[in-house]
């Protein structure tokens, strides 16, 4: 990606909390990132790391209450999405930012035909009439590789298999030719052979349509195959961010390094014993006052318990939030 390109999406210092009876839960803490045109940004993290909540916050899809986006700025095309009115936001969501969710069964409406659901955004946002929308819907189904598209438009979601439903979801997300596509674990519910089909499709569509994509997943293998840049999240924060090759070749954060060592592979060497990350993921609560990974970290020292590390640059486009310097194997100064 050209470094100088103006980002299509610029997120600054995003903070999202949930109000619960047990107090406030700080689910997303000062998350900042940007997305360049045509880029695929992979977001990796375990459940509860805040990756989905971050993306939902961006486009105002979290129910409020209990959720509250407390701080931050989300610049999309010169508009701050966090302060804009609901009407504009709705237009942007339908039109400019597409969304694909994990479970294609629950995100399609079972009582409407697939054709109706693809045509809905076309008619609402693009102002197409019924006939034109139908033609475009058929094109979209063909684009995502569904055979016999004309006839399939009249089918209901339950008549499609899991992989086919996810293709339909992608077709809906692409309907209005969005600038940004946010895909939240789009292949997690699918089998590997179907996942491979969808990944191929996405690579192909990127070339054809040139949109920017945010791809949320917990699967490092998927990331390795499709991402340009990766953001690793842990405990509601970004702990490391780097170009994909750099991240895998030269991980800096103890969590990223441990994570890369713990996943086995079907190729390459086979270890007799899996490396483990001891302990449990953190339970989120009040505002973070220390490093979220400290309880499981092998490099922990006193400063980690007192302060929450800020992100610092360690290379071209590579930053990490850690007080430990992986290169010198010593605490950083200052």
């Amino acid at each position: 990606m050209p470094d100088g390109a103006v980002p299509v999406l610029d997120v600054r210092n995003l903070k999202t909390i949930f109000r619960t009876r047990g107090g406030e839960i700080h689910a997303v803490n000062s998350v900042s990132f940007d997305l360049k045109p045509g880029e695929l940004l992979g977001v990796v993290g375990e459940s509860g790391s805040g990756k989905s909540v971050t993306m939902m916050s961006l486009i105002g899809l979290l129910p409020s209450p209990p959720a509250e986006v407390r701080e931050g700025e989300v610049l999309f095309d010169g508009t701050n999405l966090l302060t804009t009115d609901e009407e504009t936001l709705r237009k942007i969501r339908g039109d400019r930012i597409g969304f694909v969710f994990q479970d294609p069964m629950t995100s399609l409406n079972p009582v409407f035909t697939v054709g109706f659901q693809i045509m809905e955004p076309l008619r609402k946002h693009m102002g197409l009439d019924k006939a034109a929308a139908r033609v475009r819907a058929k094109e979209l189904l063909e684009l995502v590789g569904i055979p016999d598209a004309e006839r399939r438009l009249r089918d209901y979601p339950h008549q499609f298999s899991g992989g086919m439903r996810q293709r339909v979801m992608i077709a809906i997300a692409l309907a209005c030719d969005p600038k940004v596509l946010i895909a939240d674990e789009p292949t997690t519910a699918l089998d590997v052979t179907i996942q491979a089909q969808i990944l191929e499709l996405v690579k192909e569509l990127r070339q054809k349509l040139g949109m920017a994509i945010i791809w949320i997943t917990h699967d490092l293998g998927v990331i390795a195959g499709i991402a340009d840049r990766v953001m690793v999240m842990y405990g509601g924060q970004v702990v490391e961010q780097a170009p994909v090759k750099d991240l895998f070749a030269n991980p800096q954060h103890p969590y990223t390094r441990a994570l890369l060592q713990t996943v086995p592979s079907v190729r390459g060497d086979r270890a007799d014993r899996l490396r483990v990350i001891e302990g449990q993921p953190p339970v989120l609560g009040g505002p973070p006052v220390a490093c979220p990974f400290r309880a499981r970290c092998t490099h922990r020292f006193d400063r980690c318990d007192r302060e929450n590390p800020a992100r610092r640059d360690v290379g071209a486009g590579h930053d990490v939030a850690c007080f430990w310097d992986a290169k010198t194997e010593a605490p950083i100064d200052g």
């Binding site: 179907i194 191929e200 390795a224 592979s265 190729r267 270890a271 993921p281």
Partner: protein, 344 residues
């Protein structure tokens, strides 16, 4: 693992598990879902047999059928020398302590109203006559074995994380000193960083107690790690069975090849070199499997014979079995001709 000296602990022969489909006003039997359709394999004492396949291939049904959680349609199952395939459920009770199961979803397989001690102790209540204090000692012993803090014995499942809940499920399965445990996707619901913990625990327990596992999973990389031999299922049948290294390096069946190639590689340099076989279409319905070979509708190497004749499951290399016409010496000549004529 596969040397002749080892004796099989579990012998499954031609196992079939068909579920009836009823339809119409009179709920007549309209057909059947052939979830498991003629599966045969052995599991040797002390080994881990991995059973892999995609959703709906019948791997979990096979695992449950082997423990007779279903009344099977046909076939024979011998565990530790005793035939259990046709036994009535009441007679199986005495066998149950020797064969146990760890389930996929630790949330759904633990009773939310029972404490940890209650859950782990339940099999002891049912099958042993231990006194209260002996029972508690045994519960503590089991909690130690799976790495749970004894102080948590009176807590309830919802107070634990997914990984810890899975440990409770494992402790319950171990309570009666089983020889054979079916692990049905035991790590599928867990976070990546927790999966390795549970897999290592299962390996430690195997060594300590001499357990034999049937490890059912869709995660091919984890199976490569834990299994000694691996069986691949597709649409109710085992299409390939081989020692682990042979299966992962020289897969014989086109489905195994495609399945392995589809797994993403967690390293961008290697990932770029992976030659991917993208299968077209979806798995056919097990209620209406295709004629001939089950895989013929999606196979990139399909031949004419595959659409009419079902391939036999045969040994093609020592300990390496596959059901594919490509590897059938008696048919390969005609097959070669067909392929050649098709190419013209």
């Amino acid at each position: 693992m596969a040397d002749g000296a080892l004796k099989p602990l579990v012998e499954v022969r031609n196992l079939k598990m068909h579920f009836p489909i009823f339809s119409g006003i009179l709920r007549r039997r309209a057909g059947e879902v052939k979830a498991v359709d003629g599966v045969s394999f052995d599991i040797f004492e002390g080994e881990t047999l991995g059973l892999v396949g995609e959703s709906g291939c019948g791997k979990s049904t096979a695992g449950r059928a082997i423990l007779r959680l279903y009344d099977i349609t046909e076939g024979s199952i011998r565990i530790d020398g005793a035939e259990i395939g046709s036994q009535p459920q009441d007679d199986l009770r005495a066998m149950r302590p020797r064969m146990q199961m760890v389930f996929q979803d630790p949330q759904a397989s633990l009773n939310p109203r029972m404490s940890v001690a209650g859950i782990i102790g339940e099999p002891l209540d049912e099958h042993t006559k231990l006194s209260k204090s002996e029972k508690l000692d045994r519960i503590y012993e089991l909690m130690d074995a799976v790495g749970l803090n004894r102080d948590f014995a009176n807590r309830y499942p919802h107070e634990f994380s997914g990984g810890q809940r899975q440990r409770i499920g494992i402790a319950r399965a171990l309570a009666l000193n089983p020889k054979f445990i079916v692990c049905d996707e035991p790590i599928a619901a867990l976070d990546v960083s927790i999966q390795a913990q549970v897999v290592n625990l299962l390996e430690d327990l195997q060594e300590k107690f001499g357990l034999t596992y049937l490890f059912i999973s869709h995660d091919l990389s984890m199976v490569r790690h834990i299994a000694d031999r691996v069986a691949v299922m597709y649409l109710g049948k085992v299409v390939e069975l081989a020692p682990r290294d042979a299966l992962y390096t020289v897969p014989k069946h086109p489905y195994t090849e495609a399945l392995l190639s589809a797994v993403p590689e967690p390293d961008p340099r290697l990932e770029a070199k992976v030659e991917r076989i993208i299968l077209k279409g979806d798995v056919p319905s097990p209620a209406n499997p295709p004629k001939g070979c089950n895989f013929c509708t999606r196979c990139p190497k399909v031949m004419e014979i595959c659409r009419s004749e079902e391939p036999e499951f045969r040994e093609v290399a020592p300990g390496h079995f596959t059901a594919c016409h490509l590897h059938d010496q008696t048919k390969s000549q005609t097959a070669g001709k067909t392929a050649a004529s098709e190419a013209q």
